[in-house]
């Protein structure tokens, strides 16, 4: 009795164990490392945001191959066939990602080309604006400079300037001074202004102021008067902005008459201040005749 019970129990145990073994086999699917790697590669490609457009062609092939591999595995087909599909899935998934990178770079290059064109266009526009502004301002400057120079020349011409080998000579008559006095009369300002306008327009030129008298009176008196009149004109030019370093002066007394001292008209011509403006940046040479 007890033996038969034991046998019966044993057979039940064996049956349970066999069932458990079968259940265990069904619950643990077959595995393949190559397929796992392919699955991961395909999943990565699906997550890659660059895999779009034409890159989806490779991704679709990868999906197809992965599905085939899974089906073969599930159907218990040879691992060689599973791994063949897994290989295709892996390579096509990686190719899809490379294709995605390629499309992204091509897009970047197209965008950069647009940016380069924009930069070049902006640079050309800036250059054009600069050129226009430069031309306008230089034309304006030229016109202004020409105008100033012309006016200054004209002012000098009105002073009846004479061109000599020492430079431009302007003779200021004794009407600028009261008789026997060295201070400039009020009406002399116009002549001084014309001179300073010219000198300011030609800042490289220097000026020499020479004073002369007629022969009336002592030599010492005339020498002193001629020097003081030259100094008066020099002071007036300096007050109008002509730098002192550009001004030389000298009194010659009754020397170098330009007319006869025998007549009143001649003596009036001899009472004068000559202003000599250099032709260049050198000092006006000393008078020799």
């Amino acid at each position: 009795m007890s033996t038969s019970i034991k046998l019966g129990t044993l057979s039940i145990l064996v049956a349970v164990a066999a069932t458990l073994t079968l259940v265990g086999c069904a619950a643990a699917p077959r595995q393949d490392a190559q397929l796992d790697a392919a699955r991961e590669a395909v999943a990565t490609a699906h997550r890659d945001p660059q895999v779009t457009g034409d890159a989806l062609i490779e991704l679709s092939k990868a999906d197809t191959a992965l599905n085939a591999a899974d089906a073969l595995l599930l159907a218990g087909k040879p691992l060689a066939d599973v791994e063949y599909q897994a290989y295709l899935a892996d390579r096509f998934a990686r190719a899809a990602q490379e294709h995605g990178k390629l499309l992204a770079s091509e897009k970047t290059i197209a965008e950069l080309d647009n940016r380069r064109n924009a930069v070049l266009l902006a640079a050309r526009e800036r250059e054009t604006r600069r050129a226009i502004a430069g031309a306008a301002s230089s034309a304006q400057e030229t016109a202004m400079a020409t105008g100033r120079a012309e006016r200054a020349e004209q002012e000098l011409a009105e002073l009846q300037a004479k061109h000599t080998d020492r430079g431009v000579v302007v003779t200021l008559g004794d009407v600028l001074f009261a008789t026997g006095r060295s201070e400039l009369q009020e009406g002399s300002q116009r002549s001084i202004s014309r001179l300073t306008a010219f000198l300011n327009e030609h800042p490289q030129r220097t000026v020499r102021i020479e004073g002369f008298t007629d022969s009336v009176g002592s030599d010492a008196y005339n020498q002193n008067l001629s020097e003081q009149r030259a100094a008066s004109v020099a002071g007036a030019l300096a007050r109008d902005g002509v730098d002192r370093s550009r001004i030389q002066m000298r009194g010659y007394g009754k020397s170098y008459p330009v007319a006869s001292n025998d007549s009143a008209a001649g003596r009036q011509q001899n009472r004068r201040v000559e202003v000599i403006i250099s032709d260049n940046d050198q000092s006006v040479p000393e008078r020799t005749r």
Binding site: R91, F92, R94, A95, E98, K101, E106, T108, I109, V119
Partner: protein, 93 residues
């Protein structure tokens, strides 16, 4: 066979031998194995090897192309930066 051969030739023209040597050599090897399988009348295996050669050749080709394209993009970017810094520099007086 032809499809794989064409893909390998294309990959070679695109510089895959240098830029993606691993998948490129793999594609060549698979193709040679496929030819050997045909010689042994193992047509099923040969067909699989041709497909594998094609897949490897496509990977090699696209890898080479994406690498070249990325390099080109970096060069264009650099040239634009140079251009921008030059054109933004104030002109000398």
């Amino acid at each position: 066979m032809t499809r794989a051969e064409v893909a390998i030739e294309q990959a070679q023209r695109d510089g895959a031998a240098e830029l993606a040597s691993e998948p490129f050599q793999e594609a060549q090897r698979k193709l040679n194995e496929a030819k050997a399988a045909v010689d042994q009348r193992d047509n099923v295996h040969a067909a699989q090897l041709v497909e594998e050669a094609f897949a490897a050749a496509r990977l090699a080709d696209l890898t080479a192309l994406s690498e070249k394209s990325a390099k080109a993009a970096a060069e264009v970017d650099k040239s634009i930066r140079t251009l921008e810094s030059e054109t933004n520099r104030p002109s000398s007086p």
